[in-house]
């Protein structure tokens, strides 16, 4: 990992006094994003590199505060007309912003994502044929596991590059986790309960040749969701998946997850997260893809940019905002400064430049993302407007089944009725 040196305190201070303005042909635009202290160092380094190379535009970065309330804060600022010109948003929010006319149409100002950008990521930020944001980094779903707990149960799994699809299916996963639950003894189970995890569910649905959303509605049927809940219900009953109260404790940081708390060796995550997980646990962690569907089913993998950077549609300097956004993520000399904060760089040229600067653990994350990139099928695109509350609906439905408060049928009906009112 490389670090940027002094002058950052000054950058912070200036950032805090940000706001758009121009003087003497030089345009100043503001930018915000959210993350750890390290992310803020990266953002500032990236912006500094941009300012040095493109003197006509000055970008001032303002840290977005604590992660939990960032989305609310941005929405409120946009509503009040005080939002920065460039805004990092979650992938799930983009269509909402586009729909409300607050995401700048970058195509209109000549922004094109070149061939060195990953195809999945271009698909993701292109809505109705127009580029609406820049992808920050390529990320992929990844199953993290505790190698020590597996070894205790006498199970050794091959490296993800050597695992054949048909050897790693949801059925295999159920078999292995049930066995783990039996041999690891009391109060330790095979896996977290991912029945309420919308990413795992999406993989399951895509393996059936569908997507979670189709247009402005759901892309799957009640029987699909029912099969999914049934799968996890059986795993809980067999001791393969953790009890609902252990799972329900996992609602904030990963430190409350069954994996880190030593309750179950498998956790459904994204590729870059393992770098944050490993320091929290003594046992060596390793990685696999999410399980595959039964023989003959479609591959679900795709790369995604969990964080996107969009232009504020109400900015006074749309041209400069579009240009700054383009250069921040397309110019390797600038983009490389952001490092791997939200996954592998979206552009191949930046990635090549960055790779030699990284340590072995981080390179392993990039290798995994690259591996998934090669297996990738067509990305599902960003969720439709109104869908932001549905992952939570899925979690509630699964929790209700797990605690025995609802039958699977009622839980499925509940989710579909939530979806109907949310997607309209």
């Amino acid at each position: 990992m490389f670090r940027t040196g002094g002058g950052l305190a000054a950058a912070y201070f200036l950032g805090a006094c940000g706001g758009g303005g121009s003087s003497g042909g030089k345009v100043s635009i503001s930018m915000t994003g959210v993350g750890s202290a390290e992310s803020y160092r990266r953002y500032n380094a990236q912006v500094k590199a941009f300012d040095a190379k493109y003197p006509k535009i000055t970008v001032k970065f303002e840290p977005g505060g604590s992660g939990a309330n960032y989305g609310d804060k941005i929405t409120t600022e946009i509503s009040g007309g005080s939002a920065p010109d460039i805004i990092a948003v979650g992938a799930g929010q983009l269509s909402e912003f586009v729909n409300r006319g607050v995401a700048l149409d970058l195509s209109q100002y000549g922004v094109k994502l070149g061939a060195d950008f990953n195809k999945n990521l271009i698909e993701e930020v292109t809505i109705d044929g127009k580029v609406r944001a820049m992808p920050q980094g390529a990320n992929a779903k990844m199953l993290v596991y505790d190698t020590v707990l597996l070894a205790k149960a006498g199970i050794k799994l091959p490296d993800y590059t050597k695992m054949a699809d048909e050897d790693w299916t949801w059925d295999t996963f159920a078999k292995i986790t049930t066995e783990l639950g039996k041999s690891l003894g009391k109060n330790i189970y095979g896996t977290e309960d991912a029945g309420g995890n919308s990413d795992a569910f999406e993989t399951f649905i895509r393996q059936r040749g569908m997507n979670v959303y189709k247009g402005n509605g759901l892309g799957f049927g009640k029987s699909d969701l029912s099969d999914w809940f049934d799968y996890w219900n059986k795993l809980r009953k067999s001791g393969g998946a953790v009890t609902p109260d252990i799972q329900a404790q996992y609602q904030s940081g990963v430190e409350t997850s069954p994996l880190i708390r030593g309750k179950a060796p498998f956790l459904f995550q994204y590729a870059d997260r393992i770098l944050g997980d490993q320091p929290l646990i003594k046992h060596k962690l390793s990685r696999l893809t999410y399980p595959n569907g039964p023989k003959g089913s479609t591959r679900a993998d795709y790369l995604t940019s969990t964080t996107l950077t969009m232009g504020n549609g109400r900015t006074k300097h749309p041209e400069q905002v579009a240009e700054a956004l383009n250069k921040l993520y397309s110019d390797p000399a600038v983009a490389v400064k952001f490092g791997v904060e939200t996954g592998a760089p979206a552009s191949e040229r930046t990635l090549r430049k960055l790779r030699p600067m990284l340590d072995a653990d981080t390179r392993a994350v990039l290798d995994y993302v690259e591996f998934i990139g090669k297996r990738a099928t067509k990305a599902p695109g960003v969720p439709p407007p109104g869908a932001s509350g549905l992952p939570d609906s899925l979690l509630r439905a699964n929790t209700a089944v797990a605690f025995g408060q609802k039958s699977i049928k009622d839980a499925v009906d509940g989710y579909f009725s939530d979806a109907k009112s949310a997607l309209g």
Binding site: R100, P244, T399
Partner: protein, 323 residues
Amino acid sequence: MRRPIATLTRDRARSVERTAVSRGRFRGRTLGEGTTAYLFLLPWFLGLVGLTLGPMVASLYISLTNFSLLSAPQWTGLTNYTQLFADPRYLQSLKVTFIYVFLSVPLKLALALLVAMILNTKVRGRGFYRAAFYLPSLLAGSVAIAVLWREIFSDNGLLNQVLGLFGLKNLPSWISTPHYALYTLVVLAVWEFGTPMIIFLAGLQQIPRDLYEAAAVDGAGRLHRLRNVTLPLLTPIIFFNLVMQIIGSFKTFTPAYIISGGTGGPNDSTLFYTLYLYVQGFTQFRMGYATAMAWVLMVIIAIFTAINFFGAKYWVYYEDKGS
């Protein structure tokens, strides 16, 4: 409210008199005093209109619209209000909040009174105890305590470890089981009994000693003195605490937000009214609906406060009036 405070703060009343007398010296210079006073009050008036009344009127308007924060509000009349009562999660949030208020307020007040009575006796180091018992209420609204609570009531948290010493095994994670989660939050609320306790303590110290002595001479035992002297004279304070605590409990937000990670989980078992309001407004972008919820909450609190004041006529005793 004026009367009980007047009864209880005779000393302060005297000092106010003194101040008034000493101010008399400046009586000659009254010219423009009214104007000056209003000038000094102006910032407050501006605040009242700009920061309180203005936003209230605006929120009343927003509650009658469909407003996503990102585009202009669209008038929908009473739709938000009628939708509320057909929304099962809204009804769940009402249920959770009512259970919480009805359990936590009486328990908290009872504990506060009990501790106040103990600390009103002449125990050694009572200054320390008073501070120690008051401390939780300074901390309880904080994020740190909510996090601590989550740890205490988790599956291998402090509580289960202590119970484990007594041979109790296979205990659930209290904080993440729908049947118990709300009750752990009630315990948290009761634990922060410091504020009403301090007010009770002040009230207890205002009860004239001679009344106890007279009662003792008449042969009244401890219980009799509690029932016939302490409690009647304390009713104005109990009333005050009751009103304030009910209002505060309806508005509880932080513990549920932190402990459930902002979801009101597991499975909506801690979905407090204010938390659901927040979810609707800021994560679902339904600000019109959220403000409608806020207005309904205000009406609910107003009704409870009105009932309290109405009922007070029958049980609250004011010394100066009663004699």
